[in-house]
């Protein structure tokens, strides 16, 4: 799943950097997220907990910027939320894992829905996973991908309140948030591999 998402992310690298620049950021989100996936490609681990922790560590070691800490924290939270030695997860376990990731991110940033950050995609996607728990993994991820995409779309007319883009004020309105767009791309890739 990481490999598939990595491929889709790499294909859109330029777009993510352009969105970062367009909303008033420093135009490097594409570079950051691609570096993150390159780092994650080197991770391994026999069970979910170890693998997720390894993903988090690799990513934080090699990727920099907000992306490093946000994604690193997300993966770390997921790792902490899965049981030790588990090498399979049921629908409830997956939903709990993503909930754990979201909770941990909440510790490093105060951003929530409406602040024009990746939280606009991640929050509804995590909620959708939980809501669709009874319908099995493919349906859960399809719902999450739709929710993430809708969330990312909605960031266009928002005014950035966190991250570098916030300094632009009114002028940040228009383009989607770079981090929300890449997060939606990741959930879409997850959904595709499960179908």
């Amino acid at each position: 799943m990481i490999a598939a998402a990595g491929a889709d992310i790499r294909a859109e690298e330029k777009l993510f950097s352009e969105l970062d620049a367009a909303e008033g950021g420093d135009g490097d989100h594409g570079t950051a997220i691609v570096t993150a996936f390159n780092a994650m490609a080197k991770a391994d681990g026999d069970d979910f907990k170890t693998y997720l922790k390894n993903l988090s560590d690799r990513l934080q070691d090699e990727a920099c910027g907000s992306t490093s800490t946000l994604y690193g924290t997300w993966l770390q939270g997921m790792s902490e939320a899965v049981p030790a030695n588990a090498s399979e997860l049921d629908a409830g376990g997956v939903a709990a894992m993503f909930r754990g990731g979201l909770d941990e991110i909440g510790f490093v940033t105060r951003a929530r829905v409406g602040d024009k950050t990746l939280m606009d995609a991640l929050l509804p996607a995590t909620d959708a996973l939980a809501a669709a728990q009874t319908q099995g993994l493919p349906a859960m991820f399809a719902a999450a991908a739709d929710a993430a995409e809708k969330g990312a779309e909605a960031t266009g007319p928002m005014r950035a309140r966190f991250g570098r883009a916030k300094n632009l004020g009114e002028r940040s309105i228009g383009p989607r948030d770079a981090g929300a767009a890449s997060m939606a791309c990741i959930f879409r890739a997850f959904a595709k591999t499960l179908n």
């Binding site: 690298e13 330029k14 950097s17 352009e18 620049a21 008033g24 950021g25 420093d26 135009g27 490097d28 594409g30 570079t31 950051a32 570096t35 560590d57 990513l59 934080q60 070691d61 090699e62 990727a63 920099c64 910027g65 907000s66 992306t67 490093s68 800490t69 946000l70 690193g72 924290t73 490093v108 940033t109 966190f162 991250g163 570098r164 883009a165 916030k166 300094n167 632009l168 004020g169 002028r171």
Partner: protein
């Protein structure tokens, strides 16, 4: 138009630039563990250590100020990107000492998040460390919540002051007090005339129309809101020094230091001309302006523009600024 920079593979930029920096100043600094710049000869560990973190691409900042009288370590991220929390934690472990560590964090989301994560872990491990967050950019308005204000090049004189205090052997709490007082009394405002290119992806940052400039530009070319038609040097100086005076509360009889930090393509010729008018305006207000500095300290690639930094100084700051410093890019 292709990007015109003397670089090799964009993926290796930070590693290569740090290698070159360390080779060039090998008497003064060295690289440990890939992205941590430390002094060639460490400071006596009975003294408080000063550490900072930040992305590359802003050379000479921040690593150029590692050395006698200023920083003990600078933890470097990729271009314009904060280093990850694990790297910073590694540096804090390396400098762990009873006297303690001061971590200087510029207020940018990435740096703050890495610092928060690393500090939480360091404190769990019993490392004695206190953070000073700089947020002296007044472009969002003098009265803006400090949490919302960016840290710009004002961190450099701040590091000079606390670095000197640490060198004198002052205690952690005193150093933080001196630094926070300096922090509260300084303000920075940036102006840009042209954009620049991101050295990794070749994309444009902060494009400005041919006949416009922008007051309030951020450290990475993030926009600031104060667009205007091109002004003369004197007009620009006046527009910037007035809010800085207001923000710092500098008034007749006070002592202050003025620094012009070029961000890339703006010449020293221009910085001197701007310094001249700003210093004249301060002098006319009855402010005692001590010798300052014009130069490139914290840059934004080849962007044309500068940051004007005004620091209101107390007696102890004045003395600490004058104390010996022998780093690659700041000496006293």
């Amino acid at each position: 138009m292709p990007m015109k920079k003397f670089i090799n593979d964009p993926a290796n930029l930070t590693t290569e630039l740090l290698e070159g920096f360390a080779l060039c100043y090998k008497g003064k600094v060295k690289i440990v563990s890939d992205k941590i710049v430390v002094r060639a000869t460490p400071k006596d560990d009975g003294k408080v250590a000063i550490v900072t973190l930040g992305g590359a691409g802003h050379e000479p900042a921040l690593s150029g100020f590692v050395g006698e009288g200023m920083l003990d370590a600078s933890v470097v991220g990729d271009i314009f990107a904060a280093p990850g929390a694990p790297k910073l934690l590694e540096a804090l472990r390396m400098l762990k000492r009873e006297a303690g560590i001061v971590l200087v964090t510029l207020n940018h989301a990435g740096d703050r998040m890495s610092a928060a994560k690393a500090l939480r872990e360091a404190q769990k491990e019993g490392i004695r460390v206190r953070e000073i967050v700089t947020h002296e950019d007044i472009s969002a308005g003098v009265d803006t919540d400090p949490e919302e204000k960016r840290g710009l090049a004002g961190c450099i004189p701040l590091c000079k002051v606390i670095g000197a205090a640490a060198e004198q052997g002052q205690g952690l709490d005193d150093i933080v007090e001196i630094g926070e007082r300096f922090n509260r009394q300084m303000a920075t405002l940036a102006v840009a005339m042209t954009g620049c290119t991101h050295p990794q992806n070749g994309g444009p940052i902060a494009v400005l129309p041919d006949d416009e400039m922008e007051i309030g530009m951020g450290q990475h070319g993030e926009a600031g809101g104060g667009r205007s038609k091109l002004l003369t040097a004197d007009e620009t100086a006046a527009r910037m020094i007035e809010p800085l005076t207001q923000a710092t509360g500098v008034k007749a009889g006070d002592t202050a230091m003025l620094i012009i930090n070029g961000v890339g393509a703006t010449t020293l010729m221009e910085m001197f001309i701007v310094y001249r008018r700003a210093a004249q305006i301060l002098a006319a207000k009855g402010v005692n302006v001590i010798p300052g500095a014009c130069g490139e300290y914290l840059t934004v690639q080849e962007m044309a523009g500068f940051q004007m930094i005004l620091c209101k100084l107390d007696e102890d700051h004045l003395e600490l600024l004058k104390a010996e410093a022998r780093t690659p890019y700041w000496t006293a």
